[in-house]
Symmetry: C2
Subunit: 350 residues, 2 copies
């Protein structure tokens, strides 16, 4: 029985197209000869498209993307300080709009220190945890505004919105992850300052914890969590946290595990009502774009998350293994973006 | 001409009293025989006081503290999870209340890797920067609330309030720091998501920058800043940032420079309308309290910041030097809290 997966591909800006070229190469190799076919549709979106047409994400784009089974995204965002992008906010108007419109309430970001990868820590120990970052609430909702804008009397507010509905579903997902892993879950928040939002997170984690007596639960303030990420990252198994804290912790976690060139992520709608979106954690890095020096590994590992999400566990496992083997043999010599993709593809074909 | 400084001392909870005992010992030694006398008044505040009397910070306490010239604080906060503290929020009701009531709009947190100090980074390089954290606005204002609290339909909001007035004054302070240092200032925020607050921070930094053409200014998103703190902390000179981002970055910076046992801070009202408050960045660590194993160095370095703030530059310099010399000769052997204080005091007397 053959299966067709409709995949929306958004290469984006900067190094996005380069890393996505390798990611789709790997996807094709991983599924060649299997029962599943990926029907890929490319969407030209990002700063480039904005500069050409003035569009960030049209309703038609969004509807078309939403009709796919899954999304693979490279990176979006133009050159920082480009005056032509002054009034554009590609991140909010495109990336966050997709996450919110497609109800990607789980932003899943595994952090793993692969053998052989040089990182900044003197004694990293074993690092293998996942951050389950809430993706549709918190300070990211865009419920801010300002008065007397641009004057010495300006007041600008940003409101973090948090709901029991939104927290419970992501907390349940995180506990399910912990059950499949080392059965440890750490809530990260700032309950001593953000007492209302933090209090609700704490309450709901405690409630769901009672259904998972085998999962050990602890709590850290976000500031303390950053300390442990550099002094004892091995203490973490599953971290569940809000949108903003998750953003911060996962970049730090990426750095600690050898750089965000290796960090993959999934923006997941576990209910399946909307297509989930997989993307490297890194940005578009326009300063190094077009030079074939970007590391496509994070994009390739995002393909593994995509395959896993679609229930293609064998294929996911093969991609992860091929990438991991490639990483283990890196010796600091430089390869082009395509050479890394080719090497991982060759391992898959072998 | 002799000068009397009225100093309010708040030892607080946990290891607070132990480290403050050493800090005041050092303060006495540093000013012995000089023209300045510190008249110290101790205030019993914190979880301990709350458990005894139910008070967190009475109006009378606050008025009395406010009538002093400066404040030295150890750490406040009870044992996490103590059921008797369930309804207390010592952090909000005491520490943050002092910072807000006394208009401590600059939270100054120097980060320095002292020679000989072991840290978590394999190749830390030279680390010497200060974080100028805004102290009276942002998500810390306590303008949050919830509806349907405790139910599956709860909605909890937290509002970050930011004013041009509040930002401009702290940004000016940060530029003045940069002028005295390596003339580099980095704004850290999350302008691509928190567009209103972030946009105002950016605008005001740009405006004040035009008055400081010799200061090099750059901008980092908070997530990227955490990466640089572990991969290239030497790139930072002065960081200016909001209250919450500053909280996170300074704990991480403390870890990177060998632990928050060394991190000092000042909650400063530069206008002098209210007394400024000096405290170690670390918390009350009730789990190790009373054992004489806490490192008093952060509290002692906070005394140096206090002396500097009062214009007692020579005394400040001597305390810093004595602490630094002591740090340089640490060989991993354990000394009691008092032994560290005594050793630094002995150097001052020498
Ligand atoms: C580009 C930005 C809006 C985004 C975020 O803050 O979520 C990025 O940092 C990420 O982590 O995916
Ligand atoms: C105790 C807490 C409220 C405080 C803060 O968040 O400011 C602490 O973490 C600090 O950094 O001084």
């Amino acid at each position: 029985m053959s299966r067709v997966v409709k995949l929306a591909v958004i290469p984006g800006d900067g190094i996005g197209p380069e890393v996505i070229a390798e990611a789709t190469k790997v996807l094709d190799a991983a599924t060649a000869g299997s029962d599943v076919t990926f029907e890929q549709t490319a969407f030209s979106l990002g700063a480039g498209r904005y500069l050409e047409t003035g569009d960030t994400l049209t309703d038609a784009d969004l509807a078309s993307i939403a009709s796919h089974d899954a999304i693979l995204l490279g990176a979006v965002g133009g050159m920082p300080g480009d005056p032509r992008l002054k009034d554009a906010n590609i991140e909010r108007g495109l990336l966050l709009k997709l996450r919110f419109a497609l109800d990607h309430y789980v932003n899943l970001r595994p952090s793993r220190l692969y053998p052989g990868v040089p990182g900044p820590l003197a004694e990293p120990g074993e690092i293998d945890f996942v951050v389950v970052r809430e993706g549709t609430e918190g300070p990211y909702v865009g419920n801010g505004g300002s008065i007397r804008t641009g004057t010495p009397h300006e007041v600008a507010n940003e409101t973090s919105v948090n709901t029991a509905y939104g927290i419970e579903r992501v907390v349940r997902f995180a506990f399910a992850q912990a059950e499949k892993r080392r059965k440890k879950l750490t809530l990260v928040h700032k309950t001593n300052v953000l007492v209302h939002a933090g209090g609700m997170w704490k309450r709901i984690v405690d409630e769901v914890a009672s259904e998972h007596p085998d999962v050990a639960v602890d709590y850290l303030h976000v500031d303390a969590a950053t300390i442990f990420l550099v002094t004892n990252p091995g203490r973490f198994d599953v971290i569940v946290t809000d949108n903003l804290f998750g953003d911060i912790l996962t970049d730090l976690a990426g750095a600690v595990t050898g750089g965000i060139g290796l960090a993959a992520s999934g923006n997941i709608n576990p209910d399946g009502a909307f297509p989930s979106m997989f993307e490297p954690v890194h940005g578009s890095a326009p300063d190094i774009a077009g030079q074939q020096i970007a590391d496509p590994t994070a994009a390739i590992l995002s393909v593994a998350l995509l395959l896993e999400h679609l229930g293609l566990d064998d294929e996911a496992e093969r991609v992860t293994r091929a990438a991991r083997e490639d990483i283990a043999e890196r010796d600091g010599s430089t390869r082009t973006t395509a050479q890394v993709g080719d090497a991982i593809t060759a391992r898959l074909r072998a």
